[in-house]
Amino acid sequence: MFVRLGRKGISFVIELGELTIFGAASLGSLFHQRHIFEKLTRSIYEIGVRCIPITLIVGLFTGLVLGLQLYYVLTNFSSESLLGQAVALSIIMEIGPVFTAIMIVGQAGSALSAEIGIQRNAEQIDALQTMNINPLAFLVSPRLYAALICFPILTAFFDIVGIYGGHLTGVSMLGVDQGAYWSRIYEAVSVKNVMDGFCKALTFGILTTVICAFQGYYTHAKASIPGARGVSQTTTRAVVLSSIAILSSDYLLTSLLLEK
């Protein structure tokens, strides 16, 4: 049992190392290619624009639920006027970055992993190598930089819609004072809180894009079955690992950022 555990541990550390090298190589390779702006624009469309509807919908409902839950908790302490502050801080610092990242992984991350996996199986990545085109620069780095741009922007959208969702429940439906709702937000939320949220969004963007691209890129080596089922296996793994990475790094980041 210890031998197996040891082997698992070693293979985990090796994979972590490979992932880090893969991510660093992808980040560094963007400027070693032509037509960067065009590729970046396409990637921003795939990761950013196409994820706007799902981000707004989830943001709205999260705000609605949060407004409802927190209202009943705060009523116990006769502190309903604090609803705006509670909703805004929860969304800006925690729920916004985390939910947005999970939504993007579900929509764009899985697609990225599957697309690169299929390209690997169809020998398109080998073809790029034979054409002397760096596959990481061509396939991964524009997406990575697009993620760095899109994750904070989508998080900001989520935050705004979520806060309005809380307003809809608390003020429009449950009768919390509108002035109190907004003034509490204005008083409690600092620029640092917003920046901390964006810092998380950037971290999640790098982590999830690297994980999804890595799983697709090495689908031939990572999947236990070749072909289409192998791609589905690595895509599933990409989503699961990305979700774990989001939540675990969120814990680490929160403890680091709150200590400051």
């Binding site: 390209q119 169809a122 034979t130 002397n132």
Partner: protein, 242 residues
């Protein structure tokens, strides 16, 4: 044909305990057509991938003699063409130039369109790979290989999955474009003896090494005992070979 163009010396490759290439030596003459034959799974595609740089050999050297250092020097035609399915034929052919060379859009379009005309793909230029026939895909893949003016094109079983008529048309296509563009061909093929009609020399790969290298007619006249069964499967069932 003149002089050695590509020299492989002591090339070795293993996957785990399995030895695929075992200190293999091979010389490829300039402007020649060499066909690598051998049983399935013997390592023919691995040999091509080592030559092209997709796989790194464990030992040995691959050296180019008399190269003009154009980039890329190799072009590779994959068994399943490896065309990008989200790019149309024009964009697929233009890809190596567009990504690697500093060319204006006008010049790029001129070069690609010329090649499209030469390959007879005028009607397929704006179509995606999924919308064209197998033969057209082969020509589009050849166009993508030719656009960067390579000195060597590696063909990995170019006739896989094609009917006999299309098979011969692919062979004709390779022969005529080699004549027209003047590149060196290294091809892996199972189509024995049909492929002998277009090849200058045959390299028989067996147990990780080249067991025969020479003109196809000599091989057909006096094949080694082990290869006789491969050249004519009926022989191997009629008479046991050593």
């Amino acid at each position: 044909m003149s002089g050695t163009f590509l020299q492989l010396r002591g090339l070795s490759k293993r996957f785990g305990p399995q030895v695929i290439l075992d200190a293999l030596d091979l010389d490829i003459p300039l402007n020649s057509h060499t066909t690598v034959i051998g049983r399935s799974g013997i390592g023919k595609s691995v040999l091509l991938k080592c030559i092209s740089g997709i796989l790194k050999p464990d030992a040995g050297t691959i050296s180019l003699c008399n190269s003009t250092e154009s980039i890329p020097q190799f072009a590779y035609m994959f068994q399943q063409n490896a065309l990008f399915d989200s790019l149309n034929v024009f964009e697929n052919i233009a890809l190596p130039l567009r990504e690697k060379e500093k060319v204006t859009a006008q010049n790029l379009s001129k070069q690609v369109n010329r090649l499209i005309d030469e390959l007879g793909l005028q009607n397929a230029a704006t179509k995606y790979p999924s919308e064209i026939s197998g033969g057209m895909k082969k020509r589009a893949a050849l166009g993508r290989a030719l656009i960067s003016k390579p000195e060597i094109i590696l063909f990995d079983e170019p006739t896989t999955g094609l009917d006999p008529e299309r098979k011969f048309s692919v062979f004709d296509m390779i022969r005529s474009y080699r004549k027209q563009f003047g590149f060196t061909v290294i091809m892996v093929s199972h189509d024995v003896p049909e492929v002998f009609g277009i090849t200058d020399q045959v390299a028989w790969l067996d147990e990780g090494q080249i067991r025969y290298w020479g003109p196809p007619n000599e091989l057909l006249e006096s094949p080694p005992i082990k290869l006789a069964g491969f050249l004519n499967p009926k022989l191997s069932t009629d008479k046991p070979t050593s």
